[in-house]
Symmetry: C2
């Protein structure tokens, strides 16, 4: 069987372009509308996407005045969507810094049960003092400590998901024996960050564990991904950067004794699809015109830890910027943005326009054919196992992708023409983890 | 308009009777089946119930061997149900001891958005060392401290739900002004248990706050209910106890300056409905025969903080039991059970049979007419604003209630014959809370 690519739809209110809510077609309250998101999910499902995905952070991000702010909690929103779809995978972001493992493990197991095995967990450590201040802290723990906690969190979560053996159920009504208590295991975890007796109060779910997803591309992030992740979202601006990241992460995974086939690498792409190349560029420029440069200058300055006055809209970035070490969150994204500005000699205003589409993810404006071409090129060059599709405008950008790009990919034999599998793990070709308590655990355990 | 009664369906796997899973009709894996629960919710909605409700605790309760153990997390399960129902209210239990207010407030606001204003929160403090041990603690905090934390939790949750004014949204696409930042308020809470900067990252939801529900009937519990609760679930075995509890709680509510109409008192009833009274008793006896007395003896001993050997199945309860003060959770339930056993001079075996149906809630076996009679009697005597209906067997017990008892109640003018309202607050006749930041807050704020 030839290698097939995977597609995830990253859903965000009216689209990934900063200014998308200002288009005539956009509903500025889309971020609160379950019907909006159900329509998007069904559109992606019509295109046989592997999954949809929601980013998240437990804090009101950015100023509420200048763009849609706030969002519904992803495990809730995805559960509502699960009930109105049947095949597509559902990936929710949740923080290891601001959740209890018992509650979160249970919630993901519950979504897996109600969705028939379609849930994934995008594991984030959550940077930023503003999030910390919603949880009794003055500032965010440092990057390395957040990742250490994340590792312990995932370790104990997988142990909780193994609490019940798959064959614990007996169901003998006559004798009154419901389950075999010897097949329900205490957790007894004592670590640096967590102490959890267990067992989990949800039996082992259809997928056993949610598909584990990760999106950090810093050193800590890549090491974490190599150890735990089964799918990785990443921002890569050039094919060279993409292939370098891909082979680096596959190598790290192999060195940890894991099969590199079991980690799917999905760079982001922000497609702006037009009837012609010129039409696509027009759409892109219309969006750029709607950007609020002063507002985005403040956002960029915040990312760089600088006063906004130090960024002049019509000059290049200042020579004297912080180093990646001095940035506490989104480290690799910081470096990507600085490199992009320097490589292409962009002014701050031009950089803001480039970031408007996907916050550092690669924007590609062109025809459906050209979008399919770049996807095929990256896929065949060893830069991607698939793509994290981030339409600039929603729903129209996803509809065009599904109606125009997907058929080309299918025709070229790169992508499925119908669902042949049921669970999210199966869509991505990932194994169902064995339990650490099963007799053949050594042979089957995935993590 | 004459006073109308309210009905909540308390849903639990194959029913509230301990042994219900052993009946031929029961699916022993019902507790993991979203389709089972959707069927129950739609049945209750067909009967125009105000709401459905799930109990919860973040721990595996009881031995897994002898009955269905574990359950899906209620905010997830209710969200899945919300997508497949349209009117019925959805009440989820969540613990104030083992959640973060920011995360939980956000989750309830999200369920309120996706359900169109149908969510309620049953506020529990969660007794028991076994739950504590899933959250890094050796033992549960004591009863008074748990209630103090619960009060601070609810205070800050309501403040988080007030973060966004109802009219914060502007949506001026031309000027690029999405919302009025002056109508988004920081939380700035610093208390004994929590420090939360806010604001919440979910705009004010259809109901503003979930309907706040409470079920503790201890002194601490009643005082908490009088201050915060808008609906109260309670276990009452006799009409006298029911009227005493009702007038006591309404008085406490009035003394705190709240309108006693805004707290709905809903005693539990475990109906066992037969074609004749004799048939109903047969059904009840069939269930009693399926109880595992040794298993239930251990459960009862645990509730009493005694070694199981001290309970003899064929003798009355020992004279020397702990006092309510010595019990850390379910205090009022403890007293109710002891009083029941002593008042009716029950042996331990007989007591176990009585508790089999509803764990201390009143079991009533009779015809549909007789069930309607006792409901009307309690309602008119001032013991109830409605009932927490806890069918011994599910789904059949709920189906019979909806098909046979509800029409009688409707015919008597006691209960609605169709939905006339949309949100859970409206079903129960409860006001939508005003915001503490609105100009007329003093006049409209509910809490």
């Amino acid at each position: 069987m030839s290698r097939k690519l995977h597609l995830n739809a990253f859903l965000m209110s009216t689209g990934h372009h900063e200014a998308s809510w200002r288009l005539p077609e956009s509903d500025p309250l889309a971020h609160l509308s379950v019907d909006h998101y159900v329509h998007l999910a069904r559109t992606a499902e019509r295109g046989h996407f592997d999954s949809i995905f929601f980013a998240d952070s437990p804090v009101l991000q950015g100023e509420p005045g200048r763009r849609p702010a706030g969002k519904l909690e992803p495990t809730i929103l995805l559960t509502a969507i699960a009930a109105r779809t049947s095949k597509i995978g559902l990936i929710a972001t949740a923080s290891t810094s601001y959740n209890d493992p018992y509650n979160l493990a249970r919630r993901f197991a519950s979504v897996d049960w109600v969705s028939g095995g379609r849930v994934g967990w995008n594991i984030v450590t959550t940077a930023g003092a503003d999030a910390a201040r919603n949880f009794g802290l003055d500032d965010t723990p440092d990057h390395a400590e957040r990742y250490e906690k994340a590792a312990e969190f995932v370790d104990v979560a997988t142990k909780l998901w193994d609490s019940w053996d798959d064959d614990a159920f007996i169901g003998d009504k006559r004798l009154g024996i419901h389950s075999d208590p010897d097949k329900v295991h205490p957790t007894d975890h004592v670590g640096r960050f967590f102490r959890i007796a267990g067992p989990l109060n949800v039996p082992r779910s259809p997928q056993a564990y949610p598909v584990l997803v990760q999106a950090g591309s810093s050193e800590d992030g890549k090491n974490f991904a190599a150890r735990y992740a089964e799918a990785v979202f990443t921002a890569q601006q050039t094919l060279d950067d993409g292939t370098a990241f891909y082979s680096d992460l596959k190598d790290r995974t192999r060195r940890l004794g894991r099969d590199p086939e079991n980690i799917k690498i999905l760079p982001g792409i922000v497609p702006v699809i037009g009837d012609t190349e010129a039409h696509a560029r027009e759409l892109d420029e219309e969006l750029t015109r709607l950007i609020l440069p002063e507002f985005q200058r403040r956002n960029l300055a915040e990312r760089f830890n600088l006063p906004a006055e130090e960024l002049d809209l019509d000059s290049p970035l200042p020579a004297d910027l912080p180093t990646e070490d001095e940035i506490q969150g989104a480290k690799s994204r910081f470096t990507l943005i600085v490199n992009l500005a320097r490589r292409e000699q962009l002014t701050v205003r031009q950089l803001i326009a480039r970031l408007g589409g996907g916050r550092g993810h690669r924007t590609f404006a062109g025809t459906a054919e050209q979008v399919a071409d770049t996807i095929e090129e990256w896929f065949n060059a060893g830069a991607a196992d698939g793509f994290n599709v981030m339409p600039a405008v929603l729903p129209s950008g996803l509809e065009r992708f599904v109606d125009e790009v997907v058929p080309i990919l299918t025709q070229r034999g790169l992508f499925r023409g119908e669902y042949e599998t049921s669970t999210l793990r199966e869509h991505y070709g990932l194994p169902r983890p064995g339990s650490r308590y099963s007799a053949d655990a050594a042979a089957t355990i995935a993590l």
